[in-house]
């Protein structure tokens, strides 16, 4: 029987398309922002966790102090250098230290340009191994870069996908990085990190030449000797670096982080941003709900005579309540479905823009149960917003309503 109850509200909404559309607008915007924000947030969180968990528990990461999001990208004036690395190597308990440079750069092949990360890795075997293990890079085809290599490149697994540049790339092909030709000598296995899988690794000397970076480093990995305490080593290295950089305690212009710290720093920032954004989305949902309520109050007023008629032909108060609740619920449901679709589209657009300019750091994976839950939630918002108007409709006096003009 419930099915029949949809007929009247549906025809009514159909008949007043503009009003229905305007009513839906608020709820669509609210739901769309909830969907896109939640998914973008989750995507970012996964990207960061995936990056950092590969590091392992015997390593420290040293970067110039600054915003963790821009660390190593040389945006800040403060720099770390090969000299710092030498200082670190002399600290007792340090097994090995290796630094590398990276930045987003134009990569061309088959006359198509893309922006991905280009990393300058040391060619020295030991240092190279440390970085590769920290970044979980393993050779799939060809070989790794080695001493003496110049203008050679090892590409991430994504490059083997012909869709990336619209053409197959194979060993021995030439690729343009920052307008310079590089010969492809190897491919990495898939690491699972979308950003790393699209990175191009070149020798550090070539990198410094190409990007004019001299003795600068973006990031230094430090591996400590087995049995050493990570926190003690952190303090020791900090002290030595402070000394060599002539800095007072607590005035450090560099930072030393363990992998766990790195994750939690990002997480905290991300959580705050997400809470704020979702708060804004919640407000727009609330406004959307008020919009539905307003439309339903208007509808009850406009259809007073109709309600009187329903009562005359045998509708109980409860049936009239149901009828109007279905109408407002439908607003919530339709608004929810459209909102989810638009939110998904929006998240995918952001993902695409990210991949074009920064590299595929962000991968949005929608969870259907979550999307369905959001649609259901929107339906409930519709029902709640419509409850007071529906109650008003059900309580109308039949005779007065029939006389209403």
């Amino acid at each position: 029987m419930i099915k029949d109850y949809f007929l009247i509200p549906w025809k009514e909404m159909h008949n007043r398309k503009l009003r229905s559309l305007l009513t839906l607008f608020g709820i669509i915007i609210g739901i769309a922002s909830v969907v896109s924000l939640i998914n973008l947030g989750q995507g970012l969180q996964q990207a960061i966790t995936g990056q950092v968990s590969a590091l392992g528990n015997d390593k420290l990461i040293i970067t110039a102090k600054g915003n963790p999001l821009t660390a190593g990208l040389s945006i800040d004036a403060i720099k770390i250098t090969t000299h710092d690395m030498d200082v670190i190597r002399k600290v007792s308990g340090v097994k090995q230290a290796a630094g590398f440079l990276y930045s987003s750069s134009k990569i061309e092949f088959n006359n198509e340009a893309r922006y991905f990360f280009v990393d300058g890795f040391p060619t020295n075997k030991e240092e190279n191994t440390l970085i590769n293990s920290a970044q979980s890079y393993k050779i799939a085809q060809g070989r790794n870069i080695a001493s003496g290599d110049r203008y050679k490149v090892v590409l991430g697994s994504e490059y083997t996908n012909p869709d990336l540049f619209g053409k197959d790339i194979s060993l021995g092909n030439k690729i343009l990085i920052k307008e310079h030709e590089f010969k492809i000598i190897g491919f990495w296995q898939k690491t699972g990190s979308p950003q790393d899988d699209k990175s191009a690794i070149i020798p550090i000397d070539t990198y410094q030449e190409l990007f004019q970076k001299n003795n600068e480093l973006g990031l230094i990995f430090v591996q400590i000797n087995p049995g050493e305490d990570l926190n003690l080593m952190d303090a020791k290295i900090k002290k030595e670096l402070r000394k060599s950089r002539h800095l007072k305690e607590d005035k450090e212009d560099f930072s030393i982080q363990t992998p766990q710290q790195l994750v939690s720093t990002f997480d905290t920032v991300l959580n705050i941003v997400q809470v704020v954004l979702i708060g804004i989305a919640a407000i727009s949902l609330f406004v959307g709900g008020i919009g539905i309520m307003n439309t339903m109050f208007t509808a009850v007023l406009q259809r007073t005579k109709e309600i009187g008629l329903f009562k005359a032909i045998g509708a109980t108060n409860r049936q009239i309540l149901t009828l109007f609740l279905i109408e407002s619920g439908l607003y919530g449901l339709i608004g929810g479905i459209l909102g989810v679709l638009i939110g998904m589209l929006f998240a995918k657009i952001i993902e695409y823009i990210f991949s074009q300019f920064i590299g595929s750091l962000l991968v949005i994976q929608f969870q259907w149960t979550q999307l369905l839950a959001i649609i259901f939630f929107s339906f409930i918002i519709g029902c709640i917003s419509g409850f007071t108007p529906a109650r008003k409709a059900s309580k109308l006096n039949a005779i007065d309503s029939l006389r209403y003009e």
Binding site: K11, N15, I313, G314, T316, A398
Partner: protein
């Protein structure tokens, strides 16, 4: 006169009003719109409630149609006193036993003629296929088989009133209550509606209660109840 007798071999009371009062409270003043109305309506009869404007005809009709409850007095439908029933029980009973026909037709403009006719069945519990069949039959009965999918605003006044009559019949009610059903129609359409009501009375054996201030419609009915200032002044048989 004789024919009336043959119509009712035994007069079975369908509806009975016992000293019914309706009083409206308007601020400090109270207005007695109905003042002690007692009357019985018999199963299968065609009765007119006649009276000048403001005499309380519509008020009486709303009570008979159990859309309203009396301030004082009792209404019995099939010997059952309605004053003890809950609001929703009254609604259910109204849906089953009574079909309203209004002066302003009161069709839903967003729905087609067919959907308008089906509407009352939605609030009962009639199976889907059965109700569509019945609605189509009724539209054929009122001569609108070819207009099923038209919206009310695509129909003439007379056609709209015929849709309304089909709607009143869909739950197969005992009583058809028509309050000035020809009031908004030209004389030709009005005549058709009266003929239709007469047919329903004669062929379908429906109890018809017609409310009007139009003396000329009285001839269709078997009995006429005259109302003035909220009181019955006369009941005449044809």
């Amino acid at each position: 006169m004789n024919s009336a007798k043959t119509h009712f071999p035994k007069k079975e009371i369908l509806l009975e009003l016992q000293d019914v009062w309706k009083t409206y409270q308007m601020g400090s003043e109270s207005l007695d719109v109905l003042r002690g109305v007692s009357v019985s309506i018999y199963k299968g009869e065609f009765v007119t409630i006649l009276g000048p404007s403001g005499s309380g005809k519509s008020t009486l009709m709303n009570l008979v149609g159990i859309l309203d409850i009396p301030t004082r007095g009792h209404i019995l439908l099939e010997k059952k006193d309605l004053s003890h029933l809950s609001e929703s029980a009254l609604a259910q009973l109204r849906g089953k036993k009574i079909g309203f026909v209004f002066q302003q037709f009161n069709l839903i403009h967003t729905l087609s003629a067919l959907e308008n006719v089906i509407l009352p069945t939605i609030f009962q519990n009639v199976p889907q296929t059965q109700r569509i069949e019945r609605a189509k039959e009724l539209l054929a009965l009122v001569g609108l088989a070819d207009r099923m999918h038209h919206r009310p605003n695509e129909l003439s006044g007379g056609q709209q009133q015929r849709v309304a009559i089909a709607r009143a019949l869909v739950n197969n009610p005992e009583i058809i209550l028509a309050d000035e059903p020809t009031g908004n129609l030209d004389s030709q359409s009005g005549k058709q509606i009266m003929e239709l009501l007469t047919t329903l009375h004669e062929k379908e054996k429906k109890t018809i209660i017609l409310v009007t201030h139009d003396q000329s419609l009285v001839r269709h009915a078997q009995r006429t109840i005259s109302l003035r200032d909220g009181k019955i002044v006369s009941i005449t048989n044809k």
